[in-house]
């Protein structure tokens, strides 16, 4: 082959350019810590990175929904706990009223029952932040209004379920609506199923115990009706059942939370694997590339400047 000067120059240039590009790439990997920064450098990896980004984004929105649902469920759980305790106390009062020695005692018991009744109405109208806890979709104002003179409890809310997407294909209602709470079924003395509500039961109980209230001709040791006890029991069970429901949901979300946390860690590390450069490898490559570049420079520096002209006298 005939080696000409242009040939030498072009070949040296080409090699230097190629080696320089190699070393720049290695340099970039070391300084950014990323194996690639453009889709075209690694299409499959880049597509994977986009997928992982999307999944990480999804986790964030699930997290947001979970937090909101947990807030609702915690508040519901706490207020249902309170209700359950109050109803337990009422049951106790009812039993004591049965055995109360005097009407005076019963009147005392009735006063306490009245207070518990007020407290129950307060609990029913409890709020989660600025929203009514048990109002369904109707979260403005108080969902329940109690008229103690007639003993009627009116529910102004609806049966709306606040649905939250807390995980992949997992949707929960974050709330218990008032209609679930206020009404329940029980069996009366004759064994027929009746519908009652918690507060009216309390009202009945109080009415049963207040001395002025007993119907004409009733004996002095007028006990609460058996029916009332049944209703009280049913209300208690209802509240506890709902509490269990809420608790179960809460627990499920806690499980999901920890699972998502694991997924998050996994995705982060997958992201590192997909786009991150292996520092040791990158530095070695940089070293290699810069050595090759230096060698090429040295060779070109030796061969290019020499011609026969240097040796002519």
């Amino acid at each position: 082959m005939r080696v000409t000067n242009n040939w030498l120059v072009a070949s040296a240039m080409r090699n230097l350019n190629r080696l320089r590009a190699d070393s720049t790439k290695a340099e970039q990997q070391v300084s950014t810590g990323l194996a690639f920064t453009k889709m075209s450098e690694n299409v499959v990896g880049g597509s994977e990175v986009l997928k992982l980004q999307h999944r990480l984004g999804q986790l964030d929105t699930w997290k947001q929904q979970q937090n909101d649902a947990v807030q609702w469920l915690q508040a519901s759980e706490q207020h249902l706990d309170d209700m359950s305790e109050s109803l337990a106390r009422l049951k106790e009062l009812a039993l004591r009223a049965r055995n109360a020695a005097t009407e005076g005692h019963r009147a005392d018991i009735a006063t306490e029952a009245q207070e518990i009744g007020n407290h129950l109405v307060e609990l029913l109208n409890a709020r989660n932040g600025d929203k009514a806890l048990f109002g369904g979709f109707q979260t403005q104002g108080a969902p329940f209004t109690m008229d103690w003179s007639t003993g009627t409890l009116t529910y102004g809310g609806d049966s709306g379920k606040l649905m939250r997407d807390v995980g992949p294909n997992t949707t929960f209602a974050a709330n218990i609506s008032g209609d679930q709470l206020a009404s329940f079924t029980y069996q009366d003395a004759s064994g027929t199923t009746q519908t009652g509500d918690m507060v009216n039961t309390v009202f009945r109980l109080i009415k049963d115990m207040i001395p002025t209230a007993p119907p004409a001709g009733a004996p002095v040791d007028y006990p609460p009706k058996d029916d009332t006890m049944d209703r009280l029991e049913a209300a208690f069970n209802q509240v506890n059942a709902l509490r269990t429901q809420v608790g179960t949901r809460h627990q499920r979300i806690t499980q999901l939370e920890s699972k998502l946390e694991d997924t998050y860690l996994y995705l982060e590390s997958a992201m590192g694997n997909a786009q991150g450069a292996d520092p040791a490898k990158a530095i070695l490559e940089l070293e290699q590339a810069s050595n090759a570049y230096k060698a090429a420079l040295a060779v070109s520096g030796r061969t290019l400047p020499v011609t026969l002209a240097d040796f002519l006298r």
């Binding site: 082959m1 005939r2 080696v3 000409t4 000067n5 242009n6 040939w7 072009a10 070949s11 080409r14 690639f36 920064t37 453009k38 889709m39 075209s40 450098e41 299409v43 880049g46 597509s47 990175v49 986009l50 997928k51 980004q53 999307h54 984004g57 999804q58 929105t61 947001q64 929904q65 909101d68 929203k131 109002g135 369904g136 979709f137 109707q138 979260t139 403005q140 709306g160 606040l162 649905m163 939250r164 997407d165 786009q275 011609t307 026969l308 002209a309 002519l312």
Partner: protein, 488 residues
């Protein structure tokens, strides 16, 4: 043979060496000139004179040859046509990659995500005006980002068009110069002169035409060269003559409406693009190779294709959101997006009424019983449904159903593959060009060492000839001045 005739013989040797040294000088001074082909004086022993005993009459140095390999030239041109094509295409695609293929979680991808998230957040607080405001803002950002990307593509087309105009101008200039060189070379050859420098220049111009438009050339017996450009019109391909003899055709770049180039009939009166015509013929022709080929393809096919799909993307999302929150659900629910029914690219916006009054957004799952203002409720089922569109595959691309995010990922992946492919091809083509160029340099390039060696060789032969001439001179001196002087 006479003593005087040997003087003449030696003179041819002296002149020959001188001419060879001149050529060595020319080669050395042009060693780095692009397109220069090394020259060499070809010596031949002069025919003997039959009058004088058939003894030779020195040398003939009539011919100066120019080293070139026609096969390599042809190969170089074909390869540099493809190299020009792929490197231009890779550049255009890289621009698109910068617009649509970034790996960071920013731009269109991020704004799509925050659009869906704003609905999901609204679902948590369905009657909160600030959340509705958030939905409106994120919808505006989504449209804006899409339009920024779109106008980036539009700018790219405009710049491709500008480049095309320049390249066409270069083609015309080169063609005109080749035509005039053809004429000069023809005249010189007819007069029996060498026209190596003119031919070098002409070859260089043909090389540049090869890179610009994939041109090829054939040298005619009369010394002129005919330049062709391959063309494709639909499925039929052929070649048209760009330069023949001393005539050059002209390409003109005229401007046409975008609608003329876009078969799908989507119109945009604001976009002017250039249509190519050949020698005044308005039929659009296509150059399949060279930089012009790549520019035409990028401007008329690749960029519009991405613009179309970006439009599909925004239109798909707007339609889907409107189908859940718009007049088609209930006449009293306003559309979130206004969509130009004529189908103009990117004529989609956030409904001005909703922008002016975000409280018009209706988050509840149940249908409203009256018009706005909407009753306060915590029912966010509609907002939840719209937020859930994030994971719903309602867009289609290439017959596949995709979510918005996957659609964008598909575009990124596609452009990534295209850039990778074009870059690899451009690199391969340029490597081939380099190799051919090296082979050409091996044949036609100047080697200083070789020229130096020849310089020594011709210097020595010049010295020797001069020495012989001195000897003959001394012989003549003896003959003229010393003969016949006996007895003086």
């Amino acid at each position: 043979m006479s003593t005087f005739s040997s003087l003449n013989t030696i003179r041819t040797g002296l002149f020959g060496s001188q001419r060879a040294l001149e050529t060595v000088g020319k080669n050395i001074s042009n060693a780095n000139v692009k397109g220069y082909h090394r020259q060499e004086v070809l010596f031949a022993a002069a025919e003997p004179s039959h009058v004088i005993n058939g003894i030779g009459r020195g040398i003939n140095s009539a011919q100066v040859v120019r080293y070139r390999d026609e096969f390599l030239d042809r190969q170089f041109r074909a390869r540099s046509g493809w190299s020009g094509y792929y490197s231009t295409q890779a550049n255009a695609l890289s621009e698109i990659e910068n617009l649509m293929g970034d790996l960071n979680d920013t731009g269109l991808k991020a704004s799509l995500e925050s659009f869906w998230n704003s609905w999901k957040t609204l679902a948590l607080h369905p009657s909160d005006l600030s959340m509705k405001q958030g939905v409106v803002e994120s919808a505006k950002t989504l449209i804006q980002e899409a339009k920024i990307t779109f106008s980036g593509l539009q700018d790219l087309r405009t710049s491709l068009d500008g480049q095309l105009q320049q390249k066409v101008e270069l083609v015309n200039q080169a063609a005109a110069e080749i035509a005039s060189l053809n004429q000069s070379i023809q005249v010189a050859q007819a007069a029996g002169q060498e026209a190596h420098e003119l031919t070098d220049r002409r070859d260089q111009l043909v090389d540049s035409l090869a890179q610009l438009a994939g041109a090829s050339a054939i040298t005619q017996p009369d010394g002129t060269t005919t330049v062709f450009i391959n063309s494709m019109s639909g499925s039929s391909s052929g070649a048209f003559v760009l330069v023949q003899g001393n005539t050059a055709m002209t390409m003109t770049a005229t401007q046409a409406m975008e609608a003329d180039l876009d078969p799908s009939g989507i119109t945009s009166t604001t976009q002017l693009v250039t249509n190519l015509t050949y020698n005044g013929t308005p039929t659009p022709w296509n150059v399949p190779s060279g930089e012009i080929g790549a520019l035409l393809e990028a401007r008329d096919q690749i960029a519009p294709d991405f613009m179309q799909r970006l439009d599909d993307f925004v239109r798909g999302i707007a339609n889907q959101v409107n189908s859940l929150h718009g007049t088609s659900v209930d006449p009293s629910i306003p559309n979130i997006f206004t969509i130009d029914p004529a189908g103009t690219w990117m004529a989609i916006d956030v409904n001005a009424a909703v922008v002016a009054d975000p409280s018009l957004i209706y988050s509840a799952g149940t249908l409203p019983t009256g018009g706005p203002p909407w009753p306060v409720t915590d029912n966010g089922d509609r907002a939840r449904q719209i937020g859930a569109l994030a994971d719903s595959a309602f867009l289609t691309m290439g017959g596949q159903s995709l979510t918005g995010r996957d659609f964008l990922r598909g575009l990124s992946t596609e452009i990534g593959f295209a850039v990778k492919d074009a870059t690899a091809r451009a690199e391969a083509a340029s490597l081939q060009v380099d190799q051919t160029e090296q082979q050409r340099a091996s044949v036609s390039g100047v080697s200083i060492d070789e020229e130096m060696t020849k310089m020594i060789q011709y210097q020595q032969s010049y010295n020797a000839a001069a020495r012989v001439m001195t000897a003959v001179d001394e012989m003549l001196d003896i003959l003229i001045n010393r003969v016949g002087t006996v007895g003086r």
